[in-house]
């Protein structure tokens, strides 16, 4: 079953954007000042506006 997902709206012109890609984002974060750094990752959706070409992103649901 495919879940309905709310379209992301362009922050510039308000038009519904197109979800065209996903990107793994790696974040490095110090953990209590202990090194080496812990590495975390999450997946972001990448969106583009068909009206003005603006870009946006948000974490995947």
């Amino acid at each position: 079953m495919v879940l309905a997902v709310q379209k992301m709206l362009c922050p510039s012109c308000g038009v519904a954007m197109n979800h065209h890609g996903d990107k793994v984002i790696y974040l490095s974060q110090e953990s209590g000042g202990v090194r080496p750094l812990d590495t975390m990752e999450h997946l972001d959706e990448i969106h583009a506006c068909p009206n003005c070409g603006g870009m946006g992103s948000r974490p995947t649901e």
Binding site: N18, H19, H20, I46, C49, P50, M55
Partner: protein, 188 residues
């Protein structure tokens, strides 16, 4: 399809004093500027703030990030230093990430020797892929750059006009195609 002009900046990837790559970058920028429906500008990394006390998105420059967000395609002019790309070029490219996704890139290699930066281009390809950029299959190779341009930047070998034309035609086709994909073709 949208009629907004394509925005295709040219990144000059070296800060070295006396860089002949500047002439190559100016040639490509000029040829791009003369095309209908294309806006361009030369981004000189020597003029960008590039802190070296951190790296990655932590040193993101707002102006450069905005340019990459707006870009439909990039031209990277990269001299070959010891078979590789200039460290500061990689440092700059690493400062953005999502800005690049599904955008076209063409690479112009520059060398003082006979190979025209072919090794720097090959070394940049996996970097482009990881950044989410889409490479075209045309390059421009400026070999023996000191023979291609006079020290004042005058082009001495007119054959490069045709080579740059071929390269830009392919880049613009890919930029249009990827813009359509970004804006109209859903991943879902």
């Amino acid at each position: 399809m949208a009629t907004r002009p394509l925005y295709i900046p040219v990144i000059l990837g070296t800060v070295r004093t006396g860089r002949m790559s500047m002439h190559a970058a100016q040639l490509v920028t000029g040829e791009l500027a003369g095309r209908a429906g294309v806006e361009t500008e030369l981004i000189d990394i020597a003029k960008l703030p590039l802190p070296t006390d951190d790296a990655g998105e932590a040193i993101k420059d707002t102006g450069f990030s905005d340019q990459m967000n707006r870009a439909d395609a990039l031209v990277i002019v990269a001299p070959e230093y010891n078979h590789g790309y200039p460290g500061l070029l990689k440092h700059l490219l690493d400062s953005c990430l999502k800005e690049y996704i599904h955008k076209a890139v063409g690479i112009v290699g520059v060398s003082a020797g006979p190979f025209g930066g072919s090794r720097v281009i090959e070394n940049l390809l996996p970097v482009m892929r990881e950044l989410g950029l889409v490479t075209i299959f045309w390059d421009v190779n400026f070999s023996s750059i000191q023979k291609v341009f006079a020290t004042d930047g005058k082009l001495l070998d007119e054959a490069f006009i045709r080579r740059v034309d071929k390269f830009l035609k392919e880049l613009i086709w890919m930029a249009k195609t990827l813009r359509y994909g970004r804006e109209q073709v859903s991943l879902d």
